[in-house]
């Protein structure tokens, strides 16, 4: 259901201000969403004054600097720091993206960092993605084939392989799904852009023999047709992919076959 306002326990309150101690002249105010399960209460926005003169270029570098030098209690996910693993997906100044590939210089003024939208918060910037992973599992993201000969390659022509371009690059960071208003209101039923892009990736694979079944499975008023082409997904994808187009392709396939 559409719920514009946040539940009572989720209303954000003002938090602490961590004043700069380095005496740097090049300061940036970084507002970060904080919530600690061991303390409870309402989430708050802590403000850190960060010395930008001695900080590397990406938003993740800013967070690392805060964690290493100012406040070690800050929690966030990160791993590869090169836009490959998708761990550090978060909301930066109103737009989802990967903290490790987003240059902080692109954000003028204060830096506002929130967890991915409309998720149960585990701690600070870490959201709970259990539902999304379950939905991902439901589209059976693996090759289904009757070919049993393990000694032979399962060939694909160049053209067939090209169809997977723009689909296989997805790193499942969940930036797109958590940017989608339809997914916010109907996330328990609607599969969301990330999972539908993956569903399409297997529908389009020439080696897969389960295309019809796969199509039948997603052809559902709630699972697929909750997409209203708001384009938040494509707009937020840090890998430059186009989930909105993938969803439209599934719709078109269902309408024409």
């Amino acid at each position: 259901m559409v719920q514009i306002s946040l539940p009572k326990n989720s209303k954000v309150v003002k938090g602490k201000l961590y004043k700069d101690k380095t005496g740097s002249k090049q300061l940036k105010k970084v507002n970060v969403y904080r919530w600690d399960p061991s303390v409870g209460g309402n989430p708050r926005i802590d403000t850190y004054e960060v010395d930008m003169k001695n900080c590397q270029s990406k938003v993740l570098d800013v967070l690392n600097k805060i964690k290493n030098e100012i406040d070690p209690s800050l929690a966030y996910r990160r791993s590869c720091a090169h836009g490959v693993c998708g761990s550090c997906a978060m909301n930066m100044n109103g737009k989802n993206g990967l903290a490790c590939t987003k240059p902080h210089e692109e954000i003028k003024g204060d830096l506002n960092i929130y967890p991915l939208p409309h998720l149960k918060v585990v701690k600070d910037l870490i959201g709970d993605l259990t539902t999304l992973y379950k939905q991902y599992e439901s589209v059976e993201p693996w090759l289904k084939t009757s070919k049993k000969d393990d000694n032979k390659e399962n060939l694909q022509s160049k053209k067939e392989r090209e169809k997977l371009d723009g689909l296989y690059e997805c790193i499942m960071c969940a930036c797109c799904s958590t940017s989608c208003p339809s997914y916010w209101w109907n996330g328990d039923k609607y599969l969301g852009p990330a999972v539908l892009l993956q569903a399409y990736r297997w529908i389009e694979d020439s080696r897969d023999e389960d295309k019809k079944e796969r199509l039948k499975k997603v052809a559902d008023e709630l699972k697929l047709y909750r997409c209203h082409t708001i384009m938040n997904c494509t707009n937020s994808c840090p890998k430059g992919l186009n989930p909105a187009k993938a969803i439209a392709s599934i719709k078109k396939m269902l309408a024409t076959t």
């Binding site: 109103g94 939208p117 082409t229 392709s249 719709k251 078109k252």
Partner: protein
């Protein structure tokens, strides 16, 4: 997650708007306005059955300043809906998903809705005759 106390992260409160999301929500709002308007127009026409006086009362209201303002607003609502629907039609054919193109078509829908309203207004006042 079992713990019900975990807060929900902010969503529409913090998410930034862009042309496509704006056009999408306005498309929905104008859709609701249009359906209400069409119902009211049907009701207005039905009042003719009850005699000319009823019809006249509403007509007098509609040619007043506020009435005209209302009609122009509704014309805009229909203009927007039509143009946005054409944009959706292209999407259904699989065209226009490129980020730059969808931004451009979104801007065209917004701009076009005002131009179309003006054209219909001037057609109504007989400026083109």
């Amino acid at each position: 997650m079992k713990n019900k106390e975990n807060p929900l992260s902010p969503h529409i409160q913090i998410y930034s708007w862009h042309i496509s999301s704006l056009v999408s929500i306005v498309h929905r709002i104008t859709g609701v306005i249009n359906i209400i308007t069409l119902t009211l127009i049907c009701l207005w026409i039905s009042t003719i059955l009850l005699g000319t006086e009823n019809y006249e009362i509403i007509r007098n209201f509609l040619i007043s300043f506020f009435g005209k303002f209302l009609i122009i607003g509704i014309t805009w609502s229909f203009s927007f809906q039509i143009l946005s629907e054409i944009r959706h039609l292209f999407w259904d054919f699989g065209y226009g998903f490129d980020l730059k193109i969808s931004k451009l078509t979104g801007a065209l829908v917004i701009l076009g809705s005002f131009i179309l309203t003006l054209i219909i207004y001037f057609l109504g006042t007989g400026l083109f005759e």
